[in-house]
Amino acid sequence: MTDFDITSKERDGMAPHGTKVGLLRVLGPAHVWALGVGIVLVGEYMGWNFAVGKGGAYAALIACWFAGLLYSCVAMIDSEVTSTVAAAGGQYTQAKHIVGPLMAFNVGLYLVFAYTMLEAANAITVGFLIDTVAVMSGHEGLDQRPFIVLAIMFLAWLNYRGVLATLTFSLVITAIAFSAILILFLATSPVFGGDVLQHRALMTDLPYGWLGILAAMHFGLWYYLGIEGTTQAAEEVRSPARALPFGTLAGIMTLLIAATLTWYVCVGLMPWEYLGQSGVPLFDAARMSGSTGLMVLLGIGTLFATLASANGCINDASRAWFAMGRDHYLPSWFGAVHPKYRTPYRSIIFLVPIALIFALGAPLDQVITFSILSGLLEYTFMPINVILFRRKWPLDAIKRGYEHPFHPLPALVLLCLCGIAYFAVFLGYGTQLVAMIAFYIVVSLWFHFWRYRFVRRAAQFTMPWPRPQGY
């Protein structure tokens, strides 16, 4: 198989030079970093603090680090597989080559739903933030809907027009939002801020004991949720085997720093009972620091973080939807690429009304839980994926751009942490968990017994790899 002739007409799904218009390879490692961190950083500006509410301040820190460990495993595993399977669709394409079509279909749906829901949640937050500003300027009863719609329409347009501009935009606003966290930390630290932070007086014992730490893992995922989206850019990166591992691992390091700093500043400024239910914790923290400049900065940071996140989500969800359409897992109509802008334009258009339905019609916590659960199911798939990958193609069978160390330890750690996270979601949100999985069981049966008949069998295996061992 390795000695194939690439001009052969026989090769499945790959008529040589058959691609008349494909996605454009223009991105560098910085864009990969911006895509990964951009989606996630909003978690530092809102949402992570519910972990404080579920288990207390220390529980949130422990959850932050355990979730960090979980995501470090995710990033390492992802980097290895993706540096080898570099195609739009990311984990979907990985699953297709390594586990099997039905798994791939499920993974594709996890991706689309996790990102589209997150996009809806971001748009809701934009509306909320603008309303807050309006109230501060003395205007009550603002209609938030036009701003929610505008955020989604503008970002969809940006995505439609081309990936380079989209991710350059993400890069700039993500860098500003990240700098805002650093500036807040420096300005309130003992070096510059005097005695603003009051950790000694504000920290309490664990209000729920150890069970609270487990429960806090649920929202601990929010510190990092979405970093795995870097792989969606694989088909548009100039040098995927190098840029993807670099961008992804740099991204997870950035987030570990940002998450810890955010926790440190916030718990030093607010009683945990308040922090645990705050809508915009970093903005509140800036408010408590007593500086108007910081308040404006963190307000802008919150807005930019939500926009960067929604932007990355549109990018990732449409790539996954596009890749599934291209393989006929979904109607093939979605597999089209815009001849001028080189974007999967039909997928981008299709996902706009869906995001609008959820942003305007569903409650925020419901949308967030849907997103977290889809993410969690995806992380459970990753260890299975990498173990099978190493078994079917051992290290000497194909060339990898990056090999993650200590295999299979990261995979097993990841699997255990996923188990803990399921339990954490179960504490309080058990019904949604079961409803969600019931949904995936039903669509799996639908795919296996109906939809799969439209898929070409061998054509979906596109990587020029040797036959997997044991098959």
């Binding site: 194939f4 607010m270 006929h328 419901q366 179960f426 949604q432 079961v434 039903v442 069998r457 098959y471």
Partner: protein, 126 residues
């Protein structure tokens, strides 16, 4: 081995498939909501005539509460005493485990079957 030739799907069929997926998605999101099963239980146990001391708040915390706009203990009492209910039954825990493990088991089984077909068509034809 005979190559599998998929049927071509009509435009109408494509649209129907998309609608089926959409209905299922929206159902999964809204059905728990309609049944009133969504969200987690949080209860507050507010004491009568709460004071900052009885709520366990020290001087610094009181200062922070004031800064946040909670001028008197009664206003903040509900927030401070609000707690999640983490009690659960072993039965529902077991049910969750069965559902998750069952889901992955079914999916991996079907995937494996489809995957073998893909590999044999891909590599046996050459």
């Amino acid at each position: 081995m005979a190559r599998y030739e998929p049927p071509t799907q009509s435009k109408l069929g494509q649209i129907v498939d998309v609608i089926v997926l959409l209905v299922l998605t929206i159902g999964a999101l809204y059905i728990p909501l309609w049944l009133g099963l969504a969200g987690s239980a949080q209860t507050s146990n507010v004491p009568e005539n709460p004071t900052w001391e009885s709520l366990g708040q020290n001087a610094v915390m009181v200062e922070k509460w004031n800064q946040l706009g909670y001028a008197d203990p009664a206003a903040a009492a509900e927030l401070i005493t609000s707690r999640f209910d983490y009690s659960f039954s072993i039965g529902s825990l077991l049910m969750m485990i069965v559902v998750i493990v069952g889901y992955y088991a079914i999916m991996l089984r079907f995937s494996e079957k489809e995957y073998r077909e893909v590999i044999s068509e891909k590599f046996n034809g050459e």
